[in-house]
């Protein structure tokens, strides 16, 4: 139980996927212009990460012990098609849910955070439960970072910023400062 809590907190704060591992930067910098879109993208990402963790576990346990060199290709193909299938399922069952996060689902599939999660979970030898907890922590961490950046960007719309700094350069510097703040969490568990 202790181990699971550790995995969760670690992937949520200390080793935040965006701010410490630089995974999923494209949506982080691209879509973070409003809080509402960011929240939806975050929810969709948590969802895809959970599916990924389950897929990766199934593949690792039943298929890839026979052919480890196929890991990368099979991860990509299986994750992409599972997400596509579930997207269709949601569209059929709950149109409201689909409208909330549907458009983002296919975009997220090729995001490096998704593949990164699968590879990290494999390298660390996580089981099914550990993998799911890891995915949950990583997804919530991603959403948290996204919301923080989006909030700061919404505020900055109202202030008078020199034209030179506006755009991606400013976002990167904000992200750098956020990342510095998150480094403060590094001491959280080190005592034990």
């Amino acid at each position: 139980m202790d181990n699971l809590a550790w995995i969760f907190i670690s992937s949520l704060l200390i080793n935040n996927f965006v701010l410490a591992y630089f995974l999923g930067l494209c949506p982080f910098l691209g879509v973070s212009n409003s809080l509402e879109t960011s929240l939806r993208l975050g929810l969709a990402t948590i969802f895809v990460l959970l599916i990924t963790a389950i897929c990766a576990w199934v593949l690792n346990t039943y298929v890839l012990i026979y052919a480890p060199y196929l890991r990368l290709i099979s991860f990509i193909v299986v994750i992409a098609s599972t997400v596509q299938f579930i997207e269709m399922l949601i569209k059929k069952i709950s149109p409201t849910l689909f409208r909330a996060m549907g458009i983002f689902l296919p975009l997220i599939t090729t995001n490096c955070a998704i593949l990164g999660l699968a590879i990290f979970a494999t390298n660390r030898g996580y089981g099914l439960v550990e993998g799911i907890v890891f995915a949950l922590g990583a997804g919530i961490g991603f959403t948290l970072a996204l919301l923080l950046l989006a909030g700061l960007r919404e505020e900055s719309e109202l202030s008078d910023i020199p034209k030179l700094i506006q755009g991606i350069a400013m976002n990167l510097i904000i992200a750098g400062i956020l990342s510095m703040a998150f480094m403060g969490f590094a001491g959280l568990f080190s005592a034990t």
Binding site: F22, C26, I73, V77, N111, C112, I114, N123, I168, A169
Partner: protein, 218 residues
């Protein structure tokens, strides 16, 4: 033939400088920031990306007639993933130490949007020769960006370049530069510099135009 040569050369140069994938198009950020805490890692990553991009551009351009349009993206991804697997195992065999440091970021080359972008935008529509030139140019530009970021971060954060000490023992390393925030800050500042250069250039062109207008009026 001369025109052909010229076109190939143009394609190559465009990737390195004017359309630099990182500084101008801001693609391929994830591996870019994650592995540039030392110059040697940056070069290894650049080499792996070069191999994957050139290999897959060559294959995609050669087989473009046989890849059905509807499944082309999945086709490209499978081709890219194959080359990445080759690169992964080659690095593991040749330089296990670097492979260990790059860790999960070698397989993550697959998710680099720059590579898929070149296949979709260029390699699937051009001749094999041009596609290879384009791949060389783009990955050259990527390598330049990786190396400059890696060198800056290693020099400031560790006082060394390629592991060789530069400043002697009295240098106090600026540790934040090799930690994650340093990556964001350095890239942000480099982009700021690029913005500034573009702005100065536009201003200069405007001034010249203004001067010409005044001269013709007078």
């Amino acid at each position: 033939m001369a025109r052909n040569e010229h076109e190939a050369y143009e394609t190559f140069i465009k990737g390195i400088w004017r359309d630099n994938p990182v500084f101008v198009q801001v693609l391929g950020m994830c591996p870019m920031l994650a592995v540039t805490n030392s110059a040697i890692n940056a070069v290894a990553m650049g080499g792996a990306t070069l191999f994957v991009l050139v290999g897959s551009s060559f294959l995609v351009a050669s087989f473009k007639q046989w890849i059905p349009k509807q499944v082309r993206i999945s086709g490209f991804i499978i081709i890219i993933a194959t080359f990445v697997t080759v690169a992964d195992y080659t690095l593991l065999a040749l330089v296990p130490k670097v492979h260990k440091e790059l860790g999960a970021f070698i397989p993550l080359i697959v998710a680099n949007c720059m590579i898929l972008g070149r296949q979709e935008a260029f390699a699937s529509r051009n001749t094999v020769r041009l596609a290879v030139m384009d791949a060389l140019g783009t990955s050259g530009g990527f390598m330049v960006a990786l190396f400059s970021l890696g060198a800056i971060r290693e020099i400031l954060g560790n006082g060394s370049l390629f592991g060789v000490d530069l400043f002697g023992e009295h240098f106090e390393p600026w540790v934040i530069m090799i930690l994650p925030p340093g990556g964001f800050l350095t890239l942000g500042l480099i982009l700021l510099f690029f913005n500034w250069v573009t702005q100065q250039k536009d201003k200069f062109i405007e001034q010249v135009a203004e001067a010409e207008r005044v001269a013709s009026d007078g």
